[in-house]
Amino acid sequence: MTFSPSTSVATPETPMAESPPKRSADGSTQAATAEHLMPKPSQCSPVEGCGAVKMSARDVDLFYGSKQALKKVGADFTERSITALIGPSGCGKSTFLRCLNRMNDLIDGCKITGDVSLDGENIYQRGIDVVQLRQRVGMVFQKPNPFPMSIWDNVAYGPRLRGIKNKNDLNQIVEESLVGAALWGEVKDDLKKSALGLSGGQQQRLCIARTMATRPEVILMDEPCSALDPISTLKVEELMRELRAHYTLIIVTHNMQQAARCSDRTAFFLLGELVEIDESAKMFTTPTDKRTEDYITGRFG
């Protein structure tokens, strides 16, 4: 979990070409990387997918008070891939997403059973530091939520939390993150200006940059484009595809075209259940479950 500025700052001319520092305890993920570059879809299991498993959920039940919002949800999320969570409103996909970095902890009366693990370690077990977990599993929200401070301060917020004080290091991280979020060109002269003055699309990319600045391993996105116009959506989607090379992305979306366009794998939720999870190409052409087919072909939802 140590962040070393030197490794991430080494290549300013191609800031995002380098993968974020590896933090997994064992070296297995490193070995799996090369294999992942040439995925063999035929050998992939529908649940486990290809490549190394970064996060996985098993038998997750979640209750808001007495109301059950998730029923025995199980899924694996492979490293360096985009998984889209789709389903009608209220089906539990956002709730499930928020389980993955324990954002549901904030909600009173929310109870979770089952296993959610990051690199094989259960994130709900005792002794897990939620603060460190959230630094490894970042989140981008539905509505852009820039802090009421300058653009620079927004991006530097996360690194500062990790104890980075050196101004030059912070400048490097801010620039890299903004370049990575495809926002640098638009804001590089206005870094000291308030982030609240940016347009909605810029604010959302700023929020992505802010998340990237903590160098997470997994990025969760809760309908990141739902408040954006089509042009901004396109930019964010392009960005997601670039981020895929370095991060594990899990995205909730209401837009099935978006899921089909961007994601490697798609999970379909209905009434708190995970109906089906598979390769996106297969999900959108030949889904196994009748309910998935009905939803995808627009018969309901």
Partner: protein
């Protein structure tokens, strides 16, 4: 709907058959229309008149203070202390400085406790404890200020007088404490309300970056609620700076200029009270000057409070 008039309505049934649910209503009678229009105008006029009556006292008070107060305004008023009752001239420097000193001391107590208490209520006060504190704050807000003065007299002034064998009795410390206690519930409740308005998404944004609850509240939530919190603080200051009763048993007063907070200290409201009730014409005139300074202070604070609320929006 522009063509909605009794005439078109009466012809509607002939034009096309209607289902029972949308049968046209009978036309409004002319007298009813007139009656409603008249009562509308009458009630509006009545409200306007009531408002006018309500602000007449305010206008009278302010203009009276301005006229009487400006008559004694000069440099001496701010640079000199009071003179013996039969002499002419003199000023209220001791009272102005004393008020500023005690308001400052009160802020030292009221601000940290009020703001942090407000944050606690908003962020962590959803439980029984929060309910109890909120209730206590509301009760404290309603306690008459003279009771606060008596309380501070009993817990701070008397014991210290005994302990120091009368060396230290009434003091600006005690006055500041009494005013500070009065500030706490006001600041606490306004801070709570304002901090509660900060959208949840901002808190979540900070927490999702790996922030701790405390740090996110101070860096993000308080920063976005800044304008409202400042407004609450200014209004609390405006409220306490005119308080007389809590100072009677705590700071007492002083005829001389004093900057030592452990000694009896003059304040604008108490001095105004003493001067206004004295037989000296000179002192009575000075009291009007003191009233003008006090009202101006509160006026400026209120304007500043409005400014901070507006700039937030």
């Amino acid at each position: 709907m522009a063509s909605f008039s009794p005439s078109t309505m009466s012809t509607a049934p002939d034009a096309r058959p209607m289902s029972p649910g949308v049968a046209p209503l009978p036309p409004m009678s002319k007298s009813l229309v007139t009656r409603r229009k008249t009562s509308n105008i009458a009630m509006q006029a009545l409200c306007g008149f009531a408002t006018f009556l309500a602000i007449i006292p305010l206008i009278l008070v302010i203009s009276y203070i301005l006229i009487k107060g400006l008559a004694v305004m000069n440099l001496d008023f701010f640079t000199q202390v009071q003179k013996p009752a039969n002499d002419m001239g003199g000023g209220m420097k001791h009272s102005i400085v004393g008020t500023l000193m005690m308001v400052g001391l009160a802020c030292g107590i009221g601000l940290p406790f009020g703001i942090m208490g407000g944050i606690y209520l908003s962020e962590f006060g959803g439980n029984r404890m929060g309910f109890a504190i909120r209730f206590a704050a509301d009760v404290l807000n309603g306690v008459p200020s003279i009771i606060i003065g008596l309380f501070v007299y009993a817990i701070a002034v008397l014991p210290i007088t005994k302990a120091t064998h009368g060396q230290i009795t009434f003091s600006a410390w005690a006055g500041g404490l009494a005013l500070g206690i009065m500030m706490i519930p006001t600041i606490m409740r306004t801070t709570e309300e304002i901090v509660r308005l900060v959208p949840m998404s901002l808190r979540e944004g900070a927490l999702a970056l790996g922030d701790t609850r405390w740090h996110s509240v101070f860096k993000i939530v308080l920063a976005s609620a800044k304008g409202g919190v400042v407004t609450g603080v200014l209004l609390a200051i405006a409220r306490i700076s005119g308080e007389t009763a809590p100072l009677l048993f705590t700071a007492l007063s002083n005829n001389f200029y004093n900057t030592d907070p452990s000694r009896p200290t003059a304040s604008l409201p108490v001095t105004i009270y003493q001067f206004a009730t004295s037989p000296s014409d000179n002192w009575q005139a000075l009291a009007w000057g003191g009233a003008l300074v006090l009202v101006s202070l509160i006026f400026v604070l209120s304007i500043a409070a409005r400014y901070f609320t507006r700039s937030k929006n």
